[in-house]
Structure formats: C-alpha cells, structure tokens
Amino acid sequence: MDVRSQIAMVFHLDKCIGCHTCSIACKNIWTDRKGAEYMWWNNVETKPGTGYPSKWEDQEIYKGGWGKRNGKIHLKGAGKRRGLVNIFYNPNLPVIDDYYEPFTYKYLDLIESPQGDDQPTARPVSLITGKPIDIKMGPNWDDDLGGTPDYARNDPNMKNITPEEQEVMFQLEKMAMFYLPRICNHCLNPACVASCPSGAIYKRGEDGIVLINQQVCRAWRMCVTACPYKKSYFNWHTGKSEKCILCYPRLEAGLAPACMHSCVGRIRYLGVLLYDADRIEEAASADDKDLIKSQMDIILDPFDEDVIKAAKENGIADSTLHAAQASPIYKFVKQWGLALPLHPEFRTLPMLFYIPPLLPVMASVKKVDNTTEADKKAPLAKKWNNDWIYDTSTEELWGKLEQIRFPLKYIASLFSAGDEDVIKEVWKKLMAVRIHRRRVTVGDITNEKADNTLSEAGINAEMADAIYALTSLPKFEERFVIPAAHREQAIEMMDFTGDTKGATGFGFKSKVKRGV
C-alpha cells in the first residue's frame, strides 16, 4: 500500500445556477493574456449541449483518454508509438475553430470616428489577426439551450438515446437542462502526463495537482489530444500548453481556488482524499461496468488504523491526515456514495466528482388555469397567457422516476459509463433526503412514507440530516478543508516560487518571444 494524498473536489450540480462567476474569476486571474484569450480553464456548459470545445466528449473525433485492449490500457490518440509517429502532424488535435476565435470590439471607433451621417459602430476584430471578423462562435454560445438544433441535439451523449426519446426531450414545454461546470480533474491516471513526450507535465506528489512545466514544454501538443476532457490548452502565442493549476499558490496559502471561492451557488467542495498509488493501473484497467467501483476502491478510509500507519510511514503529515478525516469529499464520495466521476470510461480516474442533478429530472410541468390566482394578486397587471408551471413539489416524486423528463440513459452516459443502476441509486438517496427533510420541516409526509424511502435508498435519518446539512448549510470551512501545505519545508522563504515550479501562471521570467 503506497498511501498518497490528493486534493479532490465535489461539484453539486443541483446547486449550480449557471452564472459563470467561476469562469470569470479564473479568467481574471490566469488566462487574461495574449494566446490564452480563448482558454477557459474553468467553463460551465449547458447540458444537453456540445460543450467546449465543440463535442469534446466524442472520442471518435478527438481520440482522448485511455482505451482498453487485451486487459491493458493504452492512450487512444497518443503514447510512445502513436505520439512519436504523429509528432510532425497530430491528426486528432482540436484547432482554434473548435473552441472559437477570440475577439474584441473596436470601441475606440465609437469615440474617434469623424463626424458623419451614420452612427459609428464598434466592429468585432479577431484577437489573433487583429482584422475584422464575422463572429461565428463565442464562449458559451449555446448557453441555456440557445441554438438547440445545432448544439443540444448534437450532444455526443445522445448517441444511445432513440429518436423518439429525443423528440420527447426536446418538446418545448418539457425541455430540461442543467449546468456542468468543468475544470481539470487532476486525475490519478492522467492521460495528459502520459502523453507528453518531453515529460513537461507532472503530478505533484504532495497534493496530486497536475501541472505543466512551461520551461520544458516544447509544443508537441500531445496533451491536448490525450486529455479526454480537453482541459489542456495550447497557447498559440507562447507555443506552450497550459492548464488549470488548481490555484496552487492559493491552496498553499490555505485559500480555496478562485473558482470555488467565488462560486455563487456554493456548489463546490474541496478536500483531501487518501488513495493507494500501487493500485492506480489496476483500477484504471477495470471493465467498463466496474470502473466506478474500482476507482472508489483505491480511495482509502482515513480513519482506518492501517491506512493511517501506512500514510505516516509515507511521510504524510498529521495535519493532512486530519484534513482527510474532515474532508467533505470523502463524505460525499465514499461515505454517502453520492458523487460520481464525469465519464469514468475515459479511464483517467478523475478526482473531481459530481453529484448528478435531480432537479431538472424530478420537476415536471403542469398545465394550470391561473387566471383567478393572477386576478387576485394583481388585478391591474398584464395577464400572461402562460399557464404552464414548473412543478417541483415533492409529493409522489418517487413514483415518477420512470417518467422523468431527462432520460436516465442520458445522465448515465455522463456519470456512470452508461450504468443506469448507479444513477438510480444516487437519485434514490437524494430524493430520500428531500422527503425526509420535508417530513421534518413541513410535516406533510407521513413518518411511514419517509422512513420507507430512506430505507429503500439505504440510508438512515441521521445520514440524511448530515447530507442535508453539508448540502444546504455548509460554512466556508466545511466546504473547503485545505491541508497545510508545509511549504516552509519545501521552499525557503527567500526563494521566488516561480523558480521552483516553472509552471503556468506566475508570469514569464523570460520574455515571450518567438524565434530569435
């Protein structure tokens, strides 16, 4: 047993309001520079949708992640043989148009144009060429199901959903969606690291953050192909790849990463997981249907005596162990079994887990006659002839699981490699917590019914209360349990941290200059 500690994350999708505050926080700190304008280390996409870059989930196109052949895993689009043979031209590299061409507007024209008959306009100009462009795509072009025929219907997860089911999904009154915020997963079996021919990408031993050394990256651009989540980006200006650094300078100072700190919906949790590094390859090589289980298996119990002993032998600090015991991630992922990795079938063993959304699934729309109601409330107000209401009342929820608006298959294709039972189990628990809490707070549900749902979901009232507390009422310190970084032992205070890391984000010590 080789115990290591990893900073892991949970995103609670029911709480995400799709405000993109996280993306902006990240952009402001890290990627607001030339060559990185198009990068969104943190992005929030609307599901169903094609995402960013377009159709990133379709590995027929991008050949990301690991495949399995004869019981062994191999990189689909990179690796020692494929990567070196394709080094002169990488056939599976997404290009700028798959993201979008970054642009700005010539605002100065509004002020400086000479007097004339026409209003001056601020024309869009490309941030690459500086020439005027016709904007074809921009960040979050498909936000909130905009352009559904082009985007949502081309979602790669629709592959297994029959045309009839799709029609039902896209009926205007029934249409449902949810947001999927994504950052680098800081995987345990990172495809980006494995694909880098120069060895510029590495996982930090102390906390598992995956970084790209900017001094060693040589623009072989294999990581961009290899990362199935497309979270390694190529900076066209510097000729280096860059990726999310999990705000390690903030983490080392005990602060939450910017995206998590600023999250309006407070959907984000961060904490330590202990795992067994000896079994990474074994876990990543499991059969598709066992992948989630095998990934959960190598996550170790931080209260187990043997684990604690092995961890100490491995040099893991007591403060890190305490953080692991208080970790909200351990609770959501292992103890409660509520959070799942995104696309486990990519086999990178992601360390960012999602609690699948229940709200768009359980809510239904009802046709009601609301004229009398409206009359009563505001007799003078305009009457909307919209008589559909979004109904999220908890009664009889459970019976509706089979008639939900989002096909179970769709969610399963995102979070469980297609295994619907896994999703059902999580949903049962989430639903049970809601019904239990409704009994406690509103009291219109009988004890018998609430207890039944709880036992059917395999949890008890105590657990449900804990889940409820950590979901709805957590304080900052409960959402982010950040272990001390012990940097005092790593780097002397005198040193410039950028020297040691050589990773993105600290600004460049030598001028970004092409050629001479």
Partner: protein
C-alpha cells in the same frame, strides 16, 4: 578564390560551431522557455499536413544519410561497391530529398497565405525558410549532377570534416569540389550557426527519452520520508531548490 575557400571551409565552420555551442548552452540554461517547436497546427491544422509530414520525414532520412556517411564512411563505401546497392541508396536519398523540398514549399506557401499565421511568424522564420530552401535545392542539384554523392562524401568530405573537428583543417581535396558543393557546405554551417536562435532549436530537444520513461510522472517537492525523519539533520531536511 583561395580566400573565399578558406573563409567557407575553415573560418565559417569554426565560427558556426562556436556560435552553435555557446548559443545552445546559453539558451538552454538561461532561456529555456524559448525551447519550443512553436507549432502552428492549432491555428491552421489542415494544410500543415501536406507540408510538415513530407518535409520532416524527408529531412529525417536525408539527415541520417549524411550522418552515416560521416560516422561510418567505410560502411557506405562497402555498400556502394555494388552498383545496384549504390543506386538503391542514391535513389532513396533523392526521393526523400524531393519530399523534403515539396514539403518545404507547401510550408512556405501555407505560412504566407494564411492570415492567422501572420502574428506567429517572424523574420527568423523567413531566414530559415530561405536557407532551408536553398540548401535542399542545392542538395538535390548536387545529387543529380555530381554523381555519386554518397561515395565522394565518404571519401572527400568525411576526412575534411574530421580535420575540422580535430582542429587541423585540411581543405586540399575539398577545395577542388565544384562551387554548388561548396555552397551546400556553407549553407550547412549557416544553418548550424543560427540553429539555437531560431525555431529549429526543437531538434536539440527531441523527446527521445519518452521511449524509456514510465508513462506517469510524479514530482515531489522534497523527499517526503527523509524530511519528516527526526534523525535527518536540519540542513538536509531543507529540500533542494532545483
């Protein structure tokens, strides 16, 4: 003529090799960030295929050919002792030379006709394109008109190059070669000289160790066990800052 010969065959190589050595070492130690192939595939990913692939495979084979003649001239001569084998060698080299030239032309056209590539193109790129083009063209011309290059490279050029490396330059034989050959030699020195200052640096950092390194890489800031061991002296607990 003798002055020019001496310049091209004696002065130039020493200047070029010195600049190359000092330049590369300085760049690697002080400007490591600039070691990059500066790939532009991300901005233009379709036409690159028709340039980069034929060019790189061509130059790879042609370069290995030159290197073999330099390292094992006797091997080449022995191989060439049979006309069929000589033809095979020469024709292979020529085909790859053509592929290099075609690739290069495609690359040049692509670079100067794609608006998106303008911001990532600089003067040095143009210098390299011109040098490489002339060099490739001269090489093909020589291979075609002054036969058989593989043999006389091994008998004439290899001893000359050794004389340069051993600091006893001897140009008697090489000075008699026709001027296109001398131009090709001069071109080679020029390219070597500017290599550290151009995007060509990427060939100094070919990722060969990828072949034997394990796929996954973990880097620790400090030796996790040693640093927490109470017996480790304080001076050693401090991690190296490299």
């Amino acid at each position: 003529m003798a002055y020019l010969d001496n310049f091209i065959l004696i002065a130039l190589p020493y200047v070029a090799l010195t600049v190359f050595l000092i330049g590369s070492i300085y760049k690697y130690t002080h400007r490591k960030f600039q070691f990059s192939s500066l790939s532009s595939e991300f901005l233009e990913g379709r036409r690159l295929f028709y340039g980069s692939v034929p060019f790189h495979w061509g130059i790879l084979v042609v370069f290995c050919g030159h290197l073999t003649a330099l390292l094992i001239p006797r091997g080449i001569l022995a191989w060439n002792s049979q006309p069929v084998r000589l033809m095979v060698l020469e024709i292979t080299g020529f085909i790859f030379g053509i592929s290099m030239l075609v690739g290069l032309i495609n690359l040049i056209i692509r670079r100067y006709t794609t608006p998106r590539l303008r911001p990532v193109t600089n003067a040095m790129d143009l210098v390299i394109y011109i040098l490489l083009f002339l060099q490739t063209f001269a090489g093909l011309w020589i291979a075609y008109s002054f036969r058989w290059g593989s043999s006389w490279f091994a008998t004439l050029l290899t001893p000359y190059l050794y004389s340069i490396f051993t600091l006893h330059p001897d140009t008697t034989a090489v000075a008699l070669l026709p001027w296109p050959v001398k131009a090709h030699i001069a071109g080679a020195y020029l390219i070597i000289g500017i290599l550290p200052f151009s995007r060509l640096v990427h060939l100094l950092v070919l990722p060969l160790n990828y072949l034997w390194r394990p796929y996954q890489q973990v880097i620790w800031n400090w030796d996790k066990k040693k640093v927490r061991n109470k017996k480790t002296p304080w001076s050693l607990q401090r991690p190296e800052n490299t």
